[in-house]
C-alpha cells in the first residue's frame, strides 16, 4: 500500500505539479520562519545594548552580546514572587478541577442518577453562555462573597468549568464497565472505585487538563488584575503587564530581556514534551 495523500506519486512526476508543490513547501517554510522569527527577535533584542535596539533599521543579531541585561531583568521586578503566585494559582486550580470535576464527571458517566438529563443540562448549558456577558457580575459576585484579593477567588471558581467536566466525562465514558463491576463484586465502594481505578486510569486526560489549566494560569492577565488588588498577589502575567508592558521609563533591551525570561519556560516545556502535548490537545478536541 502506497503512502499517499491528496497527491499521488504519479502527480508529482508532472512538472507543473512539482513546481506547485515546491511553492507550497516554500510558503509553509516562510510561515514557520514568521512563527519563529519573533521569538528569536525577542531573545536577541534582550541581549543588545539599548542604543542598538532603538536604532533604525533594526538588525537581527546583536553587535555586542550584553548578558548583564538578564541580571538587570531578573532584579527589575520580583519575578520569583510572581512566579510563585502563578504556580499557586495553577496548583490550586488543578487540584480543584480534579477533585470537584473528577467526582462529578465520574458520577455523570458511571453511576445511577435520577433526572440525569436535567442534571446534565444544569452543568452543560453554562458552556453556551458567553463569559463576557457576565464578566462584571462575576466580579461583583466574588466581591459579595468576600473573596477579592484572595487566591480562593481563583481556586473555587476553577471547579465551575463545564468544558473540563465534559472532557473528563467523555473520557470516563470510554473506560470499560467490567473493571468497575469486578471491583464492586470484590466489595469496593464507589469512592474507592473512583480513587483506585478511575483516577489512575485517567492520568492522560488529567495531563490534557493540566495543559489547559497551566495555559490559562500562565496567560490570564486581565482577570487577575480585576480581582487581586495587592501587588504581591499578582500572577506573573498581570505583573508583567503592569510593570513591563505599561512601563514608560524601562529601557527597551531590559524589557525584552524580561519578556524572554517569561517566555522561555513555557517554550522549553513545550519543545520537550511537544509530542505528548499535541496528543493531549487532540484529546481536548474542538471545544477549547
Amino acid at each position: 500500500m502506497m503512502d499517499r495523500g491528496i497527491l499521488s506519486g504519479y502527480d508529482l512526476k508532472r512538472k507543473r505539479t512539482r513546481i506547485g508543490y515546491s511553492v507550497m513547501i516554500a510558503i509553509a517554510l516562510l510561515m514557520s520562519i514568521t512563527m519563529i522569527y519573533p521569538v528569536l527577535t525577542t531573545m536577541l533584542n534582550g541581549l543588545k545594548d539599548n542604543a542598538e535596539v532603538n536604532s533604525f533599521p533594526p538588525k537581527f543579531l546583536p553587535q555586542s552580546w550584553n548578558w548583564s541585561n538578564f541580571d538587570a531583568a531578573w532584579n527589575y521586578i520580583e519575578l520569583p514572587l510572581f512566579l510563585r503566585n502563578t504556580l499557586l494559582i495553577f496548583g490550586g486550580n488543578m487540584l480543584m478541577s480534579i477533585i470537584v470535576l473528577g467526582l462529578a464527571s465520574f458520577s455523570l458517566s458511571r453511576l445511577n442518577l435520577p433526572y440525569r438529563r436535567a442534571i446534565e443540562m444544569f452543568f452543560m448549558i453554562t458552556l453556551f453562555i458567553p463569559p463576557t456577558t457576565y464578566l462584571i457580575p462575576n466580579f461583583l459576585n466574588l466581591k459579595d462573597l468576600g473573596l477579592l484579593d484572595s487566591f480562593f477567588a481563583f481556586w473555587l471558581p476553577a471547579g465551575a468549568n463545564a468544558f473540563f467536566l465534559l472532557l473528563l466525562k467523555n473520557f470516563f465514558d470510554g473506560i470499560s464497565m467490567e473493571i468497575f463491576e469486578a471491583a464492586r463484586i470484590d466489595g469496593a465502594s464507589e469512592l474507592s472505585c473512583f480513587i483506585r481505578i478511575a483516577v489512575p486510569l485517567s492520568l492522560p486526560i488529567f495531563a490534557t487538563l493540566a495543559i489547559f489549566v497551566f495555559a490559562s494560569a500562565w496567560n490570564d492577565w486581565f482577570w487577575p488584575s480585576l480581582i487581586m488588588h495587592k501587588d504581591s498577589h499578582y500572577p506573573l502575567s498581570t505583573a508583567i503587564y503592569k510593570y513591563v508592558i505599561q512601563a514608560k521609563m524601562l529601557n527597551l533591551n531590559i524589557r525584552f530581556a524580561i519578556l524572554t525570561l517569561v517566555m522561555l519556560p513555557p517554550i522549553v516545556v513545550f519543545l520537550l514534551f511537544q509530542r505528548f502535548i499535541i496528543r493531549g490537545l487532540h484529546l481536548g478536541g474542538v471545544k477549547g
Binding site: S32, M35, L101, S107, F128, P157, F194, I245, R255
Partner: protein, 314 residues
C-alpha cells in the same frame, strides 16, 4: 408511579406502609454515592456560574455603589446604554473586527492544514512551528508586537527598504489599528485551529483520493470534492465558535491600544470593561452584558445545536 397508588397511600395498609418506609433507604442506596459525588460540583457551579449569571440581570436594574450600597434604579442603566454614542461606535467596531477576523483569519488554518498534510518529511517541525506562538504568554506578545509595529520597527524597516515611502503607522493610524490587531491575533492563534483541521484532513481515507484519481479527478477537484466536504462539519463548528469568540473580544484591544486611537478599536466588550473600571458604573456594565447576552443567545443556540449534532456523529 401512577396516580392511583399515590392516592391510596393515604390509607395506611401494612405492606404498603412498609414499602414507603424503605423507599428513601432504597433511593439512598441507589443514588447516594452518585449524588454525593455531584454535590461539590453542583454547589460550585451554582455559586460561581449560575449566581453571577443571574446577578447580571438583577444588577442591570441597580446603581452599584460600594460605599453607600446598591440602589434600585429601574431602567436607568438601559437608558444610559441607549443614550451613549460610544455604544454605537463599539457595536460598529465589534462587527468590523468580526468581519476582519473572518476574511483575514478564518481560512488560514484550513489552507495550511491541507498544505502541511501533504508534506511528508519534517511534518512535525511545521506543526510545532505553527503552534509555537500559542505557547508564548500573550503579555509577552503585546510587548513584542508593539515593537514589531513601531513606526521605526522591523516591519516598517522592511517596507521602506523594499518600496521606499513613509512606512505605516500600524497602531496609531485609525484605518490600520484594527487590521493590525487582527493580523497579530491570527498569527498567534491559527496554530491551534490548524492542528484540529490537520487531524481531520489526515483522517480522510486515502483510497477515496485513489478512486477519484482513477476516475480522472485533478488535484483541485480532489480538494474540492473530497477534502473540503469531509471537513465541512468541523469548519462550520469552528465558524460558529469564532463568531462567538470574536464578538466578545477586548483583551488585545485593551492591552495594545486601550480602545484608541480615537475609539477605533473600542469593541463592545471593551466598553463593558471600561464602564466597570474607568467609568465606575458597574450597573450599566451589567446592563450591557445582559443586552449582549440576548444577542449572543441566538448564536449560542446555534452552537448548541451544532454541538449536539457533532456529538451524535462522533
Amino acid at each position: 408511579m401512577n396516580p392511583l397508588t399515590k392516592s391510596t397511600t393515604s390509607v395506611p395498609i401494612g405492606p404498603q406502609a412498609a414499602a414507603r418506609r424503605s423507599r428513601p433507604q432504597v433511593l439512598l442506596r441507589k443514588y447516594g454515592w452518585s449524588l454525593a459525588f455531584l454535590l461539590p460540583a453542583a454547589a460550585i457551579f451554582l455559586l460561581f456560574l449560575w449566581l453571577p449569571i443571574m446577578k447580571g440581570f438583577v444588577y442591570s436594574f441597580y446603581s452599584i455603589d460600594f460605599v453607600n450600597g446598591n440602589k434600585f434604579t429601574g431602567l436607568d442603566n438601559y437608558r444610559t446604554v441607549l443614550a451613549d454614542p460610544d455604544v454605537r461606535i463599539a457595536i460598529k467596531n465589534t462587527l468590523y473586527y468580526m468581519f476582519l477576523c473572518l476574511i483575514i483569519g478564518f481560512w488560514v488554518p484550513i489552507v495550511f492544514a491541507i498544505a502541511i498534510s501533504e508534506i511528508k518529511r519534517f511534518q512535525g517541525v511545521f506543526r510545532v512551528a505553527a503552534y509555537l506562538p500559542n505557547v508564548i504568554p500573550v503579555v509577552v506578545l503585546y510587548g513584542l508586537w508593539r515593537w514589531l509595529y513601531d513606526p521605526v520597527g522591523p516591519i516598517n524597516a522592511s517596507i521602506t527598504s523594499l518600496w521606499g515611502g513613509e512606512g505605516i503607522s500600524f497602531l496609531s493610524d485609525t484605518s490600520w489599528s484594527m487590521i493590525s490587531l487582527v493580523f497579530m491575533e491570527t498569527w498567534q492563534q491559527f496554530g491551534s485551529a490548524m492542528l484540529l483541521y490537520l487531524a481531520a484532513v489526515l483522517s480522510i481515507p486515502r483510497d477515496w483520493y485513489e478512486a477519484a484519481e482513477i476516475d480522472g479527478a485533478g488535484i483541485w477537484q480532489r480538494i474540492r470534492h473530497i477534502t473540503l466536504p469531509s471537513l465541512r462539519s468541523l469548519i462550520l463548528l469552528m465558524l460558529v465558535l469564532q463568531i462567538i469568540g470574536t464578538s466578545q473580544a477586548y483583551q488585545s484591544q485593551l492591552a495594545l491600544l486601550d480602545g484608541g486611537p480615537m475609539n477605533a478599536t473600542l469593541t463592545y466588550a471593551l466598553l463593558i470593561v471600561k464602564y466597570a473600571t474607568t467609568r465606575l458604573d458597574m450597573g450599566t456594565a451589567s446592563a450591557m452584558g445582559v443586552l449582549m447576552f440576548l444577542v449572543l443567545g441566538v448564536l449560542a443556540m446555534l452552537h448548541f445545536r451544532l454541538d449536539r449534532k457533532g456529538g451524535d456523529a462522533a
